[in-house]
Amino acid sequence: MTVYIMILAGFVIFASAVAVEAKKLLSTVISLGAAGMALSVIFLMLGAPDLAITQVVVEVLCLIWLIRATGEERDATFETQRDRFILAIGLGGGGVFITLCYFAFQSLVGFGEPLMNLSNQYLQNDPEKIGAANYVMAVLLNFRGYDTLGETTVLLCSIVGACAVIRKIGRIKDAGHDINS
């Protein structure tokens, strides 16, 4: 299993790298979509069908938004000359970061053997008692429903914020004293 996961994660990395370094906005957005789809396959393989569906649907939506946001510039090419100096610094910094993390990983609990102290308590409840056979949904809406309320609020908040940011007139200019005078 580890090998398949590594291959798919490698594909996500490759697609993200293409997305980061592509010269056209449209190809950036599309390769980002490819990375998201690979991630959703990983979710499916690791026993999370809910997340696989969510990832696919959200991915599609993000693509639509980004393409809409880029508007008429989507066909324009940009960054004709790449800054090799910044790339070198980025690679160096990333290398240091990963090396530091590598030492920390040795004390992490390994892949495939989670502790599950909390989740065993969740799993011991019968579906009849908690009202859901899908334990992810039970965790989301019964045990930790308060978090889900927060999550919906975050989404609502960002949408209200986006609509507020995008409105045409922000200030009423001629109320009280004229600001420009």
Binding site: A19, G110, A133, V139, E151
Partner: protein, 121 residues
């Protein structure tokens, strides 16, 4: 000793670092948004890797399944719930940044941060 049980974690952190690099070094607003999305991918991948149990099944209990067997073979549902929340928050961030990007594009006619006054550096 080469312990390869944490190799997948490194992949997640590589994606995370790549997103950080994009956010910090790229000079285009859309690229920065893409970087934020990639960071999100890294976080989600790391969370799902934490919750996996070797040979585990999805945490959905079918009607005829034995409770004991289910508890011993299901993957961890908690990180999945956390990822669901994290995905939603990521979606919200993308919505807000896209709105801001569109607005900035209207003001400046460009997505290039070097041409926008305060976003330098």
């Amino acid at each position: 000793m080469f312990n390869h049980s944490f190799l997948p974690y490194i992949m997640a952190f590589v994606i995370f670092a790549m997103g950080l690099y994009t956010v910090v070094c790229k000079k285009n607003i859309i690229k920065i948004i893409v970087g934020l999305i990639i960071i999100d991918y890294g976080v989600n991948l790391f969370l799902i890797l934490i919750g996996y149990r070797t040979g585990g099944i999805a945490p959905i209990r079918a009607a005829e399944m034995n409770a004991e067997k289910f508890i011993n073979s299901s993957v961890d549902p908690v990180p999945q719930a956390l990822i669901e929340t994290s995905i939603v928050i990521g979606l919200g961030v993308v919505a807000l940044t896209a709105a801001l990007a569109v607005r900035l594009h209207e003001k400046y006619g460009t997505f290039d941060t070097t041409k926008i006054r305060k976003l330098k550096g």
